[in-house]
């Protein structure tokens, strides 16, 4: 059997979903027998490769870099999994949306709450600008599989990966698999 090309991507999230992925513990060894991790915060690969079979995308679309990244990820991946509540709903990352734009958040964090040298960081080309509205992944690109949870438990992640490894589309239902939060 051809080895699965697996990738994971970290956008506007806390990395908790990736931590939960590590909670797969010894099953990760089984996974490594049948899949190659070709791009991920866990490994040192700079550029998102072509021909990825399955990608887990953690986090919402919160800045210009996320927006660019998700488009590349979509175009180079076969199955895109919206991985965790931030990717699926916006979740905590989108808590700032009712404020209307990025400006009040930047003002609050970098000016009003600053102890010393209050200034809003700007470094074109290095610090990506925040988007005015945080979006769930499926509002920006097509998503194939939704894996909710904050974070999704290792069991949920495993259920999704196992059915994708069998070549089936995961059919998640019930409290154990689709409860938000």
């Amino acid at each position: 059997m051809e080895r699965l090309k697996l990738a994971t991507v970290w956008l506007g999230g806390c990395s908790g979903c990736h931590m939960s992925f590590l909670d797969l513990d010894e099953w990760l060894i089984d996974l490594s027998q049948v899949a190659d991790l070709v791009y991920s915060p866990f490994i040192d690969v700079k550029e998102y490769p072509e021909g990825v079979d399955v990608v887990l995308v953690e986090g919402a679309i919160a800045n210009e870099d996320h927006l660019e990244t998700i488009k590349t990820v979509r175009s180079r991946s076969n199955i895109l999994v919206s991985f965790g509540d931030c990717a699926v709903t916006g979740n905590v990352t989108a808590l700032r949306n009712p404020l209307g734009s990025a400006e009040p958040v930047l003002q609050r964090c970098y000016l009003e709450a600053a102890d010393i040298h209050p200034q809003i960081p700007t470094e074109p080309g290095i610090v990506p600008a925040l988007l005015n509205r945080v979006q769930p992944v499926h509002q920006v690109v097509t998503v194939d599989v939704y894996l909710p949870g904050c974070p999704p438990s290792a069991d949920r992640i495993r259920a999704v990966l196992e059915s994708l490894l069998r070549g089936e589309k995961p059919q998640l239902a019930g409290r154990e698999f689709i409860k938000f939060g």
Binding site: S82, D85, V88, T89, G90, N91, V92, A94, L95, N97, P98, L99, G100, R133, P136, H138, Q139, V143, Y146, P148, C150, L172, A173, G174, R175, I178, K179, F180, G181
Partner: protein, 238 residues
């Protein structure tokens, strides 16, 4: 008292003539999803989750306010109803700011339960992210309107069981919101008796005990039950 016979999901059941489809189905052990409905207070048919199909009518009817009729043929879980219910739940999620992961009611929430029941893996509609107010001026309770679905359970329980009518509605459409007294801070209310029935009636984490953190909110619905039994049957079941 006369008895009506009807079929629900091709099953013959009997019901008392004053019963609603929801009550009759419940007695027969048939589950119909509800959200604004709360046993012990009046029905308003607002959330539309209990809509059912009745043979011979194109119009869907809310089971909580539709009385049984002799020979009625009711379907409670057709693909059309399943699709409508999921859409209704998605609309509720899109209209407010429901963030389960940081909510006091996470794991104890009827909206969250309905999302699971209707198979909501994601919301297909665009989120509104409305700007809504939080009021923690009351000593013991708080309201986070971001989590309010406008079911009016708090309004009814306060009016009909406590008899205080502290809660009411203001605004129109998606801009509606629940208010205390004449839209004054809850803590300054001269009608609120601080009984906590609204907190126990709320299906989400909109109304909560102060000092409760994420996922800790537990309600005591038995209190409402106790009061209604005492009032209607004159039985004080301690």
């Amino acid at each position: 008292m006369s008895v009506k016979t009807l079929t629900v999901n091709d099953r013959f059941i009997s019901a008392r003539e004053e019963e609603t489809i929801l009550e009759a189905a419940k007695d027969a052990g048939i589950h119909i999803p509800t959200l604004c409905y709360l046993e012990g207070v009046s029905e308003v048919g607002a959330c539309r989750l209990c809509l059912v199909e009745i043979a011979g009518s194109n119009k869907l009817q809310p089971a909580c306010v539709t009385k049984v009729v002799e020979g009625m043929e009711v379907s409670t879980n057709t693909p059309r109803l399943q699709q409508y219910r999921r859409t209704i739940v998605e609309m509720l999620f899109a209209e407010g700011n429901h963030i389960c992961s940081v909510c006091v009611a996470n794991g104890n929430c009827e909206l969250q339960d309905l999302a699971i029941e209707t198979g909501m893996t994601h919301v297909r509609l665009e989120y509104h992210f409305p700007d809504r107010q939080v009021d923690v001026s009351h000593d013991r309770f708080g309201i986070d309107r971001n989590r309010c679905i406008l079911c009016t359970r708090c309004v009814r329980v306060c009016d009909e069981i406590e008899g205080a009518h502290t809660w009411d509605m203001a605004g129109r459409g998606t801009n509606s919101y629940v208010i205390t007294d004449l839209d004054r801070p809850w803590g300054t209310s001269s009608t609120c008796t601080s009984c906590g029935k609204c907190v126990n009636a709320c299906p989400t984490g909109a109304l909560f005990y102060r000092g409760v953190s994420v996922g800790e909110m537990k309600r005591d619905r038995a209190k409402l039950d106790f009061l209604m039994t005492a009032r209607e049957k004159k039985q004080w079941n301690v």
